[in-house]
Amino acid sequence: MIELEGLTKRYGDKVAVDNLTFSVGPGLVTGFLGPNGAGKSTTMRMILGLDHPTAGDVRIDGRHYDRLKDPLTCIGALLDAKGVHGGRSAYNHLLCLAQSNGIPRSRVAQVLETVGLTAVARKKAKGFSLGMGQRLGIAGALLGDPRILMFDEPVNGLDPEGIHWIRTLMKSLAAQGRTVFVSSHLMSEMALTADHLVVIGQGRLLADTSMADFIQANSRSYVRIRCPQRERLLDVLHQAGITVVEAGGEALEVAGGKAEQIGELAARYGLVLHELSPRQASLEEAFMQLTAEAVEYHAQPGPGPGPQDWGAGWKGA
């Protein structure tokens, strides 16, 4: 269990993390989503006690990170920057980590096997590809067989096979009852792995919701229409009480799954349709819209919904 309360980090004038309150529970993969620069890595560094919060508090199973007596068996983390001395072999890198926490030496070989680096265990880490470096970082996170795992953008630099592997790994770790907290700037990635979603933008909490609810709230369906007799079609739809939105180009959009009704109306009035396609707004679009609103709110301070309310909108929907 990771619990954040009013967590805030300022670098000079720049507010990197702004009053974050949420918790990450066991047995689930919790996705931590936000565009680049949203403050995900900074939040994770504060969870690990590497950066000092400007305000607020964060606890691991009820304790501050620096009060943990067995940090690596409690929480394992993969950070965004490579935390490896390139001159050291993969084996020795993991060995010095294991020794620092009194973890049996046999675990080193086990985790190297798990991440598929056994063959290059004695090779220097600086010769590793991005993906191999990522696997070494994951091996370090798994070393203590911890009950909490935290991964900062783990799929970066991995090939498709590696991406599939890490998704499966995260799900199986959560299925064993562990807390899994993983960050990404890609909604599509989160949609595939996460059970729960925490979205931040500009350091502020935008949503804290289950993945199922997020999908339900955001999988907006609509019908896209193109018609050479555009004005007449607009009249017809208006009379039928159907609201039309002008999309880019000459296309029109109608919310909901009304394709049949529109097709029948067009036939009745003898209108030619060049396109009549039912569509689903992607979660990526929903995510972009959510974070874009945060940017707008940031740019024009004044009366209006606060960041918590944005979150509430998604929660309640």
Binding site: M1, T21, F22, S23, G25, P26, R45, L48, L50, D51, H52, R59, D61, G62, Y65, D66, L68, K69, D70, P71, L72, T73, A77, L79, A81, K82, G83, V84, H85, G86, G87, R88, S89, N92, L95, C96, L97, Q99, S100, N101, G102, I103, P104, R107, G140, G144, D145, P146, R147, I148, Q176, G177, R178, H196, D208, T209, S210, D213, K315, G316
Partner: protein
């Protein structure tokens, strides 16, 4: 109003409960790996593996040994071949180890700086601090391991050179070194050089940049002497003398009781000076390490 409620998936979780109920408040996975309360011993083992497993350690200590032994033996041979039975009358034969150790100290400085600063360059420091959240313990473990390695290596090489030189210079009229001469020229100077290395390690931790910290430390090593050489005017003579007497090379030479100057530090003074300086810098480096972000 029916019992139907709108879905509020995360609402209960929004208010964390710091004071959890007793008896497994944080459910979840339990590892078969035994939980160990970590202590300084674990950090020492880890740092020992680290220092052993990078090539820069082998390089710096290898070059150090070559310099100390090579220059020491060359100096001994050169002096011996140009002397008759009276030329070194009454002098301390151990003092010819000075030149090798002066140059060799640059290697120890480099290794000291790399022990801390290279972790910042590579990002390893974040892994280190995650594995051991006590920053005091990390700094202590690094310091103890490095100091021990530097001391033992300097003691072995300087001791070897001293023994060879004394036997080489037996027939040049040099006096037989006393036990105290031996002790200062081996244990004393090794403590001094290991502390100089430790000072470098601390500067590396403060500066967090290898090249920058090495440059600063070589400046500390050589600049006072070089500055003193250029202070020709009489009005600056006090400053010049002070710089000269307290320069690290002159302090090193005090361990052979042949200080380059008459006044200034003598006896064991240099050791107390560097001990005090290192302790003060240690306190500062720890305070900074504690307060800064990693």
């Amino acid at each position: 109003m029916s019992t139907h409620q709108p879905p509020m998936p995360q609402a209960p979780a929004a208010a964390p409960h710091w004071q959890a109920a007793p008896g497994g408040p944080y459910p979840g996975y339990t590892s078969p790996i035994p939980i160990v309360r970590t202590h300084l011993g674990h950090a020492l083992a880890s740092e020992w593996t680290k220092i052993k497993s990078v090539r820069s350690t082998m390089w710096t200590l290898g070059v150090f040994t070559v310099l100390v032994v090579g220059i020491g033996l060359m100096a001994g041979a050169l002096v011996e071949s140009h002397s008759d039975s009276e030329s070194l009358s009454g002098e301390n034969p151990l003092s010819f180890g000075f030149f090798g150790l002066l140059l060799g100290s640059i290697c120890i400085i480099t290794l000291g700086v790399l022990t801390t600063a290279s972790e910042y360059g590579t990002g390893m420091i974040r892994t280190t601090m995650t594995a051991c959240p006590s920053r005091a313990r990390v700094l202590a473990a690094k310091s103890i391991v490095f100091f021990t390695v530097a001391f033992v290596v300097t003691l072995l090489t300087s001791g070897f050179v001293a023994m060879v030189q004394v036997s080489m210079l037996e027939n040049t009229g040099a006096r037989t070194p006393s036990g105290s001469d031996w002790f200062k020229a081996t244990v004393g100077i090794s403590l001094y050089i290991a502390l100089l290395g430790l000072l470098s390690l601390l500067i590396g931790s403060v500066i967090r940049h290898s090249a920058g910290a090495i440059t600063i430390m070589i400046g500390v090593l050589l600049a006072p002497l070089v500055l003193a050489l250029f202070m020709a005017t009489e009005s600056l003579s006090n400053v010049r003398d002070w710089l000269f007497e307290y320069s690290i090379p002159n302090q090193l030479s005090v361990f052979y009781a042949n200080s380059l100057s008459e006044s200034g530090p003598s006896g064991w003074d240099p050791l107390w000076i560097i001990l005090g300086l290192t302790a003060a810098v240690y306190a500062g480096a720890y305070a900074l390490l504690h307060s800064r972000d990693v």
